[in-house]
């Protein structure tokens, strides 16, 4: 049978590469390798054609053009940065080609666009707000000892599409719970100083800080916050830089203990018993291969995102397209994707998959995706929200003696 060609677009160089894009691309590669080792999909070998978007939008667009029109790939997959996702989704959709989004989370990719050929099983940025604010709300009384209305929240974020999207969701959702937003501030991820912001946070005295950022700014913030003696009860990060906990730990050691992070869950953290059978082994295999390939000891969520989405496509959508719709042209893939119905607990990241149908505001987005709240405790990451799949109770507020504890 013919080979099935996937055009994989990730950032292998530039600032996004280390922010998780590379990790996601490795996850995707592992999934494809594993499928091929099993003899491919319905006899079709999977060929991945990898492209480096260099953390630049125009390069991503050119690469998509090349992959689709010159390499003749059967679909585009991957894409880390939301700034690349938005134009690519529109372009690919307009060209009636198929785009399976693996990593980027911006809600703007789908919101009110009514895309036909673009699908995303991953979460979208509005869910970050949902997760962190619901988490706070749930534990307000019992852990923070306050009514949600009395909790003071500060939202800080980098001013790129990612940070802005998450912060908007945070603000909207937390306000719905009646929490006080005592400070909201954006900064450029390449800012060379954040001390003025830290001073303002010290003045505002928030109980909880919601932070979205990439790497250099997160380290800068944490360092300057500690040096300035900023105290709070909890810090909730939102993916991206916060999901590279390895790197943060290297720099800050125990100071990053008890930090919370919202993101799609890294599969290895879930309790395999609560998932569909066989998924535990799959996750273990992924973790094994990732560690072998990179020598890292923490497997970031992005690896799971790259792996899981690719896996879902190759094991659910593609076989159905071939069997039920007679091939894998964009039309067949589209129909197959719309048929997808994986129950909660049916993927290694815990969520189910069912796409919002055409005509709905978020058409193409997975309606069963979930973000979880994780906590880094003594070198281990635990899932602490939602309670249905949590593996531990959160340790909040920060215990006495912690560098940032009030």
């Amino acid at each position: 049978a013919q080979d099935f060609k996937i055009g994989n677009i990730y950032d292998q160089t530039g600032p996004f590469a280390a922010g998780g894009s590379k990790a996601a691309s490795i996850g995707a590669k592992i999934a494809i390798d594993m499928i091929n080792e099993r003899g491919g999909v319905e006899g079709h070998k999977i060929i991945a054609i990898n492209a480096d978007a260099q953390s630049k939008v125009d390069v991503a667009i050119n690469e998509a053009e090349r992959l689709l029109n010159e390499q003749k790939v059967d679909l585009i997959m991957g894409v880390y940065s939301s700034a690349q996702c938005v134009p690519l989704a529109a372009k690919v959709d307009a060209a009636k080609k198929f785009f399976w989004v693996n990593v980027c989370v911006s809600s703007a990719v789908f919101k009110n666009k009514n895309l036909q050929y673009v699908f995303r099983a991953n979460i979208h940025s509005d869910q970050y707000g949902e997760a962190s604010c619901s988490f706070i709300n749930e534990w307000a009384k019992s852990k923070f000892g306050k009514d949600p209305k009395d909790l003071k929240i500060a939202i800080i974020y980098e001013d790129g599409p990612y940070g802005v999207g998450v912060a908007q969701a945070n603000e909207a959702r937390c306000k719905e719970f009646g929490m006080q937003i005592v400070h909201k501030e954006s900064y450029s991820a390449t800012a060379s100083d954040l001390s003025a912001m830290v001073s303002k946070l010290r003045r505002a005295q928030p109980d909880i800080i919601l932070h979205t950022g990439y790497n250099p700014d997160i380290t800068l913030f944490l360092r300057q916050a500690k040096e300035a003696g900023l105290k709070f009860q909890a810090l909730i990060g939102h993916g991206a830089g916060y999901s590279q906990i390895d790197k943060l730990y290297e720099t800050f050691k125990d100071d990053v203990n008890y930090l919370l992070d919202v993101d799609p869950v890294p599969a290895q953290l879930l309790d395999a018993k609560k998932l569909a059978p066989g998924l535990g082994d799959l996750t273990a295999e992924m973790v094994k291969r990732y560690k072998a390939e990179t020598g890292a000891n923490e497997v970031p969520p992005h690896t799971s995102m790259g792996f899981n989405q690719t896996w879902i496509f190759l094991t659910d959508v593609l076989p159905r397209a071939i069997k039920k719709y007679g091939g894998y042209d964009p039309e067949a893939l589209r129909k197959a994707a719309l048929d997808t119905d994986i129950p909660i607990g049916g993927t290694i990241q815990g969520y189910g998959v069912k796409f919002f149908p055409p005509g709905t505001p978020m058409a193409g987005q997975n309606e069963r995706s979930i973000a979880v709240v994780m906590q880094f405790v003594d070198g281990k990451t635990k899932v602490v929200w939602p309670s249905a799949i949590s593996t531990a109770e959160p340790i909040v507020p920060l215990p006495k003696g912690h560098a940032y504890a009030k």
Binding site: S192, S199, R202, P216, T219
Partner: protein, 289 residues
């Protein structure tokens, strides 16, 4: 706008002051190069990046921090000299803009080379100093050290330039390069020395920055534009001007950042810059056009 003139505001202002030390140090080397050789090293921040990596790997390899810092300084000094010899010298007589652009090529080159050699990961020495508290205000030691070292470096450079033969030759060559041979001064050698000093200052800045910042190939983006703004504002080539401008800009960032948002702090500093330049195009302390 919520400009509360309380202790936190004061803290922000003082932190701005401390940041200014680092920025002034960064501007110093660039201004020295421009003042003497009449060339803008667009890739200056990338030299700092090289220095940071040098120090990082030396320290990780077991070299004590101070020695590693020294190694970093020498490394970048060497890089500065090589940059001059290999890239700048061939274009010394061509249009000034070509000199600016050729270092732009070096910028791409160095960023890519760093990506290839060191990977895209963020690295950090993980060294932490504490901070001192003063009436509810906190100031980190690493920033205070940076500020002190920056001041000391400026003092040493000033002494060097005003007391030693070579230092005076460096200042002289900036004022009239044609007659330098009449003084028995070899222009090429002075240029090399100046480039090495400029590099060394970048290395020194690198040594201070590894204490506060992550190291990654694109770190130049974090500082490059800011340094150029400072140098132009102070008057390209004016050491004093760069110093003063560093303080003005970082206070604008600090005060703008504490009255509005950090995002707008930069924009305000920037607007101020544009306005000043339209009133005084040669910069605050610039002598020539």
């Amino acid at each position: 706008m919520d400009c509360q003139l309380d202790i936190f505001f004061l803290e922000a202002v003082l932190n701005g002051l401390l940041l200014a030390g680092l920025l002034a140090l960064l501007a110093l080397g660039l201004n020295l190069i421009f003042g003497v050789i009449d060339v803008v090293w667009i890739c200056y921040a990338e030299l700092v990046m090289i220095g940071m990596y040098g120090i990082y790997y030396a320290h990780k390899g077991g070299v004590p921090l101070l020695l590693a810092a020294l190694f970093g300084i020498l490394l970048v000094a060497l890089a500065g000299a090589v940059l001059h010899q290999v890239v700048i010298r061939p274009v010394l007589d061509s249009a000034p803009i070509n000199q600016l652009l050729v270092t732009g090529g070096v910028l791409f080159f160095l960023q890519a080379a760093a990506t290839m050699a060191f990977g895209v990961d963020f690295r950090n020495l993980g060294i932490r100093f504490g901070s001192i508290t003063l009436a509810d205000m906190s100031f980190s030691y690493s920033r205070i050290i940076t500020f002190g070292v920056a001041l000391a470096a400026m003092l040493v450079l000033w002494l060097f330039l005003s007391r030693t033969y070579v230092g005076i030759a460096i200042r002289a060559i900036a004022q009239d390069r044609q007659i330098m041979p009449l003084m028995g001064v070899d222009q090429r050698r002075i240029y090399l020395i100046t480039s090495a000093i400029g590099g060394g200052l970048a290395g020194l800045a690198a040594a201070l920055m590894v204490l506060q910042y992550d190291i990654y190939p694109q770190i130049g983006l974090q500082f490059g534009p800011l340094i150029f703004m400072i140098c132009v504002l102070g008057g390209l080539g004016s050491l004093i001007g760069g110093f003063v401008a560093a303080f003005i800009i970082s206070e604008f960032i600090a005060i703008g950042g504490s009255c509005f948002a950090t995002e707008w702090g930069y924009a305000i500093a920037f607007l101020f810059f544009m306005v000043v330049i339209f009133i005084r195009p040669q910069g605050l302390f610039g002598g020539r056009s």
